[in-house]
């Protein structure tokens, strides 16, 4: 079961109005509209952290309660490239070159 936490939040009036509009259009309530925005923002932020190597994709997926597949899908949707850094790639290439020659 998901654990929820109540967080008192002060938001600007114009966003409150926008949330009301979103709720109306989505046939939901304002709190749900705000939670959806929060999830979307959190997902975008998590993908950015993964791309920067500050958190792994698997950990980000855990925090968002998604699968790793979903995380890659999100990264694609946001147009964010995920993968090894240049330095890590060079380390991997060096090992691949060694293994290609029959080592270790």
């Amino acid at each position: 079961m998901k654990k929820n936490k109540v967080v008192p939040l002060r938001i600007p009036e114009h966003l409150d109005e926008l949330a009301s509009l979103s709720a109306q259009e989505q046939h939901t309530d304002k709190a749900t509209a705000l939670r959806q925005w929060l999830h979307q923002g959190a997902a975008h932020y998590a993908v950015k952290l993964v791309a920067e190597g500050r958190v792994s994709a698997a950990r980000a997926a855990e925090l968002l309660e998604l699968t790793v597949y979903d995380l890659y899908h999100l990264a694609g949707a946001y147009g964010v490239e995920l993968g090894a850094s240049d330095e890590q790639r060079q380390q991997s290439r060096a090992l691949a070159a060694k293994l290609a020659q029959g080592g270790p």
């Binding site: 698997a58 790793v68 890659y72 490239e81 993968g83 290439r93 290609a100």
Partner: protein, 168 residues
């Protein structure tokens, strides 16, 4: 024989490249139970189409090792990656397959050898497990899932190995 430990990222990308079956046949491969859960169990639960096919490839070919979950939240890794870290002392000489920047940073700090899925294609090609053409096709399938720079590096490395190997 080369021993590979694969994380969720490594498994999914090798599958998308279409070479997971060749990798598990050519090398001795192992995954911790937590990685299996991330890729197969969770994937099936959420109806991801790749999960069933990956399960069929792993079945009987990859050793799934139960590992006591250890907590190191400061590493900011998932359960599967943490389980791989705890397996490493029992697996001297093993190479980790992943393209996850955070995980590779931790492995690099520890001095653990690793290969990205793109470089696995290079190894498969140079060892004649894949023909040059097959490796190139696999790289094209992998392309959307990796950084563009990684694609060009691997393409260059595959081209460099073509002189001594069979052609498309």
């Amino acid at each position: 024989m080369i021993r590979l430990l694969l994380d969720a990222d490594g498994i999914i990308k090798l599958y998308r490249a279409g070479v997971l079956a060749q990798v598990v046949r050519a090398f001795s491969c192992a995954i911790p139970r937590a990685v299996y859960e991330e890729v197969v169990a969770e994937g099936k639960l959420r109806l991801h189409p790749d999960a069933d096919a990956i399960d069929a490839i792993l079945l009987g070919m990859v050793t799934v090792i139960p590992v006591d979950r250890f907590q190191q939240p400061e590493l900011r890794l998932g359960a599967g990656e943490l389980a791989i870290l705890s397996l490493l002392p029992q697996e001297p000489g093993a190479i980790v397959v992943s393209d996850d920047r955070r995980f590779l940073a931790v492995l690099s700090m520890q001095g653990t050898p690793f290969l990205t899925p793109a470089d696995i294609l290079v190894v498969l090609s140079r060892r004649d497990i894949l023909s040059a053409g097959e490796a190139r096709e696999a790289l094209e399938r992998l392309r959307p899932a990796i950084r563009l720079a990684a694609y060009w590096d691997a393409r260059q490395d595959l081209e460099a190995g073509r002189g001594n190997h069979e052609e498309e």
